[in-house]
């Protein structure tokens, strides 16, 4: 149910003539749930902006929020809910921010207690409900995009490939290894092998909380792919519990070298490449 053109213009008039009172009431209601996350000045600015956008939209004869005339109002609402979502307000608090207008309006209308007023109020409520729902939707959309961004960043962050030695690179895996991450790790490792021309790679699984058959499968695939390209992989950082799980599950690593720690793996590779390490003799004072 949409507003009639008549009701729309009456609401516009009301909002304009009682602007001071309505925005003040509106601000007060929202201020009650702020808990210091937004300054008073900022809040007043937001409310005034919403108020101005509403007056503008109603002035253009808006009868429905989805209409052409309400584009500006929708943009302001979307901006409002985006801000709320980023500042950590809950969905309820965001929607209340818009619904507070109802209470503010009621306070203004109560002075004149005729049946007409009630009818107007119900009609106004419809528009405000639409606005509330719209706010809610943009809120959810903002949150979803935030989560998607974070997941992507996490994927990027959590798979570094580091150079340990001339011709030796290492991938310290941290966190659960699912298919998507395993794919990223595999691609990045293989690309690094090509870029640096390193014939040895160490996959360190110290930070992987659990190794099941699927994780083992992913690691094995990476090792086989690296072999196909002419590089050798060593798996390191196998904790005692993980070793027990691997044996209990019957996972076979075949002829792939496995070491308990990254240091052992590096020593193994250095021995293979013929690099000698020796402790320097402390110089004696004559």
């Amino acid at each position: 149910m949409a507003l009639s053109a008549d009701e729309s213009s009456r609401l516009g008039e009301l909002l304009t003539s009682r602007a001071e009172q309505v925005t003040q009431q509106w601000t007060e209601i929202i201020a009650g749930q702020l808990r210091g996350r937004l300054s008073q000045a900022e809040l007043v600015r937001q409310v005034q902006e919403l108020h101005r956008a509403m007056v503008d939209a109603l002035g253009k004869g808006t009868v429905d929020l989805n209409g052409e005339e309400a584009t500006e109002l929708r943009a302001v609402l979307a901006e409002f809910s985006r801000g709320q979502a980023r500042q950590g307000f809950s969905a309820t608090e965001t929607a209340t921010g818009v619904f507070a207008l109802k209470e503010a309006l009621l306070a203004v209308l109560e002075v004149d207690q005729s049946i007409e007023t009630l009818r107007d109020y119900v009609a106004f409520s419809t528009l405000i409900d639409q606005m509330g729902l719209f706010t809610f939707e943009s809120f959810v959309r903002t949150r979803e995009s935030l989560i998607a961004d974070q997941a992507e960043q996490l994927l990027e962050l959590s798979t570094p490939v580091v150079k340990l030695w001339e011709g030796v690179v290492a991938v310290p895996l941290v966190g659960t290894l699912d298919s998507a991450r395993a794919q990223v790790v595999m691609e990045r490792l293989l690309q690094t092998l090509v870029d640096t021309g390193s014939p040895y790679a160490i996959i360190d699984i110290t930070g992987v909380p659990a190794v099941d058959t699927q994780v083992a499968q992913h690691i094995l695939k990476t090792v086989v792919a690296a072999r196909l390209m002419g590089a050798d992989c060593i798996i390191s950082g196998i904790r005692p519990q993980i070793a027990q799980t691997i044996v209990a599950l019957g996972i076979e690593f075949g002829d792939i070298a496995t070491k308990a720690s990254l240091a052992d793996a590096l020593r193994h590779v250095l021995r293979l490449t013929g690099v000698e390490t020796a402790r320097r003799q402390p110089r004696r004072e004559a």
Binding site: L190, V194, G197, P199, A225, L228, M229, G230
Partner: protein, 137 residues
């Protein structure tokens, strides 16, 4: 029909595959390579597949065949320059290119062959003994 060039670098034959392999090209390459190995007496073959975007079972089988032929003629085959995407695809397909040695690039491939030859029980390369410095009268 396109032919794949075979280059001789020292004791090694270098084959760089830059065209899509067809049946004919593959057979021609196998024949040419076998001939060149016998002709030059090289002990190493490096097949560079850096330019290949797709390695399917056909190319895989061709590489295996070339490796087998070379082995019969006493030459070591190393496949070099496989791209990450190609390696991932091969693993997903379950093709493991058995019996083929691989290296990251041509340089590593040459090192690998050098190490391989050094391990042989006796050296048949006719370098000849280092001449003794003759004492001047």
């Amino acid at each position: 029909m396109e032919r794949v060039p075979i280059l001789k670098i020292g004791d090694i034959l270098l084959v760089s595959i830059q065209v899509d392999m067809s049946d004919q090209t593959a057979v021609a390459l196998q024949e040419d390579l076998a001939e060149r190995i016998v002709e030059t007496g090289c002990h190493g073959v490096i097949i560079d597949i850096t330019a290949l975007d797709i390695v399917d079972s056909f190319v895989g089988r061709m590489l295996s065949t070339i490796a087998s032929i070379s082995r019969v003629l006493d030459a070591e085959t190393v496949v070099v320059g496989m791209r990450p995407a190609v390696a991932i695809t091969l693993v997903e397909l379950g093709l493991s290119l058995n019996g083929i040695r691989t290296a990251l690039n041509v340089e590593r491939g040459m090192e690998l062959i050098a190490i391989e030859r050094a391990d042989e029980p006796y050296d048949e390369r006719d370098d000849g003994p280092i001449p003794e410095p003759t004492a001047s009268p």
